[in-house]
């Protein structure tokens, strides 16, 4: 028997439990980060903080619709629930839209310093992000291919990182701690999308991947909390 056949078969309920715990962890951490930075944004209306918060808002929504898509894949046999199966392109559209918005927000958070002196242009650019994300979402839904999404998001992300490295000051090295964090968030999101392809990532590998992915969100949450709240507590 080939080695991959000898692997333990996971039951749908076990898969569901793992996916649900993973989703809840990531979703709660994203929402905590979004909520914890609310005051900082409301007081300053700083565009960098705006995009930083949006990264986590959109990732939270992307992970929510990813779970929905996985549930549809898990519990629907080919001849069952034809009506619900028809909803799959809609869940793909929403995953595509929100994950593109998250990656575009990452790009904006990385590049925001370059746009500081173009306030009017920045407003138009912020609006056009939604149009780009919607177009990509529709393309993904129509083609029913998440590979299109991965390719386009990879190009967008690579462009923003390369542009930022080539035009920025190299005080903090080529890749700062932040860019590494953003890169890891992106890589793990890509792996999450790849798991839409059945059997591409074995379950034995998925659990450690989910653990590391949740740990990265937790790391960002700790940094946000430390920066915005720890000193205030000490003062009291």
């Amino acid at each position: 028997m080939p080695p991959h056949m000898m692997m333990r078969q996971f039951m749908p309920l076990e898969i569901l439990a793992v996916e649900l715990v993973y989703f809840l962890l990531v979703f709660c951490l994203c929402i905590f980060i979004y909520y914890k930075t609310r005051d900082a944004y409301n007081l300053t209306k700083h565009q960098g903080i705006f995009h930083f918060r949006n990264i986590f808002l959109y990732f939270a929504l992307a992970y929510a619709f990813r779970l929905l898509h996985i549930l549809m894949m898990l519990f629907m046999e080919p001849h069952m629930f034809q009506n619900i199966r028809a909803l799959q392109p809609i869940s793909l559209l929403l995953v595509g839209y929100f994950s593109t918005m998250a990656v575009l927000s990452v790009a904006m958070a990385i590049l925001i310093k370059k746009f500081k002196n173009h306030k009017d242009g920045l407003h138009t650019l912020n609006n056009s992000l939604h149009i780009v994300a919607l177009i990509l979402g529709v393309v993904v839904a129509l083609t029913r291919s998440h590979h299109v999404l991965i390719i386009v998001l990879s190009v967008l992300f690579a462009f923003s990182i390369i542009y930022s490295i080539s035009s920025g000051k190299k005080k903090k090295g080529i890749l700062s701690q932040n860019k590494v964090t953003y890169l890891l968030l992106f890589i793990f999101w890509t792996l999450n999308i790849l798991s839409f392809s059945k059997g591409l990532i074995p379950w034995e590998l998925k659990i450690p991947l989910y653990f590391i992915s949740a740990a990265i969100f937790f790391w960002v949450f700790i940094r946000v909390r430390k920066r915005l709240f720890s000193n205030a507590k000490k003062k009291r």
Partner: protein, 91 residues
């Protein structure tokens, strides 16, 4: 050449000046202490009024004074934390 102050730093300076004057200062000395052009000052001043960081009050002789609101005090309190956050995440 000294570094040009950014928007947040100027807002902090204006609020700090009001705070340091027992939370009551006339517009002209505020402009002088802030050390920006009149046109820039007016933009910042209107923005702070719009955001309700400051408010205008009048004494018995109908002279205008500027004071901080609760939101203004909150900004002063959190400014250094927010600045640290912006630096930490390179925003």
């Amino acid at each position: 050449m000294p570094k040009k102050r950014d928007r947040l730093e100027i807002i902090y300076t204006i609020l700090k000046i009001i705070h340091n004057h027992d939370n009551s200062i006339k517009p002209t000395p505020l402009l002088r202490y802030t050390n920006v052009s009149s046109q820039s000052f007016l933009e910042y001043y209107n923005e702070l009024l719009d955001k309700e960081f400051i408010r205008e009050e009048y004494d018995k002789k109908k002279k205008k004074y500027i004071t901080l609101t609760d939101k203004g005090f909150s900004f002063l309190e959190k400014y250094k934390l927010i600045l640290g956050f912006i630096e930490e995440f390179e925003l």
